[in-house]
């Protein structure tokens, strides 16, 4: 459920780091908490983000959830297809439903994230 090679934020985003690039989405736990996703708002390419800064909004039929950048960097790619098929976030949250790719400008912001084991513990504590 929570792949080992990803890093996780307390706001339930995941990031797959490859060199100075990081691909970002929301976790399976997050999509499950939201329910059927019907709307997504993403930033423009070129926007700079600080770790913890809001970069978009995801809405299910019943709930609104803000998206927070897990790292500091610049948006270099946006999954614009996802905004017309937001249901993919429920179907494949940690694969096809990636949201943005950032060029990481502060590698220390990656170090502050959780590994799969720590994230699993967070989810278990929230589920109680």
């Amino acid at each position: 459920m929570n792949p080992e090679e990803l890093r996780y934020s307390k706001d339930h985003e995941w990031i797959r780091v490859d060199g100075d690039r990081g691909r970002i989405g929301i976790t399976d736990y997050a999509q499950n908490q939201l329910g059927d996703v019907v709307f997504l708002e993403l930033p423009e390419v070129g926007r700079t983000l600080t770790a913890g800064e809001q970069f978009g909004t995801v809405e299910s039929v019943k709930a609104v959830s803000e998206l927070f950048s897990p790292v500091t960097g610049e948006v270099v790619e946006v999954n614009s297809e996802l905004t017309s098929k937001p249901e993919l976030i429920n179907e494949d949250p940690q694969g096809e439903a990636w949201m943005v790719v950032v060029r990481i400008t502060d590698p220390a912001s990656v170090q502050a994230l959780m590994d799969a084991e720590a994230y699993k513990a967070l989810v278990e504590s929230e589920a109680k």
């Binding site: 329910g35 059927d36 019907v38 709307f39 708002e41 809405e59 299910s60 019943k62 609104v64």
Partner: protein, 366 residues
């Protein structure tokens, strides 16, 4: 916050993997497999809802009719045995204390179904209105209520009862046996579909729930949560008390003029003068249905602007799963409460254009 109340089906919901949420004082299922699939199942096949949290009052005695005429807006004299009526309990300003369904079981025996959140308020209100020649009794804890809704409802329920359901018309009810137990079966609902509401003793509802799901398993019946119930009722423009109407909106403003009787024989009742005046000369504002024109979802509480003028807030707003549109309800000044009026909804600081459209948004094919 104290412990949440639980319906007799609470354990059944939890064991089936439902997502449970606090709903008023109650711990209720918001969804089982998923809100959208449940919504579509009700439109195309059938869904089963636990609505046991709703309140029920018995109003019985020879003075029941006269009392009910004084405290409700609709004409109770139109009811005969086995008929139900949508109505409201207006205050002196013509605004609803609650919206209710009234059932006539006999000339001196009525049953009133009220909103869960309003049980105590309604009971206190009714007692304050001086029931004479009748008694108002809260029997909410002695009744469980489930709603079977959707086009396949009749054939599913028919398998469990000898009542001839083809003869039971809309807003009629019978008391008979379902699954071998005594039940009140009403052809009513809150989804915009054909369907039934079944009232049974709390100790019998778990068995009934299982029997219904079994009878419907080849017909596409699924358990459905309060999430789908809310989106279904919104598509059908059925109002939610506390959101779309309350003690500050008159029944005429809420578009419920059709439950306001001005029949002379009904006599005076709370708010009658105000309601009669508004029916004749118009009300200052009116509840309208709208569609979002831009990209985004308008939700309850989002501010509404006509140009730069703040005119209120969205009372209900959601993505509509069957229509695949973003829709909602809000109050507008009457002069602008007409089809085609364009206005803005403030969604977290962003202006989202919307347009008044005819309602109901969804009407079932007949």
């Amino acid at each position: 916050m104290g412990d949440l109340r639980r319906t007799p089906l609470n354990t059944v919901h939890r064991e089936s993997g439902a997502k449970m949420v606090p709903f008023g004082d109650w711990d209720m299922p918001v969804e089982y497999a998923g809100l959208i699939s449940e919504h579509l199942a009700v439109r195309k096949a059938a869904g089963l809802f636990d609505v046991s949290h709703m309140g029920e009052f018995e109003i019985e005695g020879e003075g029941a009719l006269a009392f009910l005429q004084r405290v409700t807006a609709n004409d109770v004299a139109k009811l005969s045995d086995g008929r139900a009526q949508y109505s409201a309990l207006p205050n002196a300003s013509g605004c609803p204390i609650d919206d209710v369904i009234l059932y006539r079981r006999a000339a001196d025996r009525y049953l009133m179904i009220v909103n869960a959140a309003n049980i105590e308020k309604d009971l206190a209100w009714l007692q304050s209105q001086g029931p004479s020649g009748c008694e108002v009794r809260d029997v909410s804890d002695e009744r469980a209520l489930v709603a079977l809704q959707g086009p396949r409802s009749e054939s599913i329920l028919q398998a469990l009862t000898s009542i001839d359901l083809s003869q039971l018309k809309f807003y009629r009810f019978v008391e008979g046996d379902v699954n071998g137990r005594r039940a009140l079966v009403a052809r009513t609902g809150y989804t915009g579909e054909d369907g039934f509401e079944l009232m049974v003793a709390p100790g019998e509802v778990v068995e009934l729930w299982a029997a219904l799901l079994d009878a419907g398993k080849d017909e596409g019946l699924v358990p459905a949560g309060l999430g789908a119930r809310d989106t279904l009722r919104l598509e059908a423009r059925m109002l939610l008390y506390g959101n779309d109407m309350d003690e500050t909106t008159t029944l005429v403003e809420a578009g419920l003029g059709w439950v306001v009787s001005l029949d002379e024989a009904k006599g005076d009742y709370n708010g009658r003068a105000v309601l009669a005046e508004q029916k004749a000369s118009g009300a200052p504002s009116a509840l309208v249905g709208f569609e979002v024109v831009g990209r985004g979802i308008a939700r309850h509480g989002h501010p509404v602007y006509l140009g730069e003028q703040a005119v209120g807030a969205v009372t209900s707003g959601s993505y509509a799963p069957f229509l695949q549109k973003n829709i909602g309800l809000c109050y507008l000044p009457s002069a602008r409460a007409v089809e085609g009026t364009e206005f803005d909804v403030d969604v977290r600081g962003r202006r989202l254009p919307a347009r008044v459209v005819p309602t109901p948004f969804y009407k079932r094919p007949r």
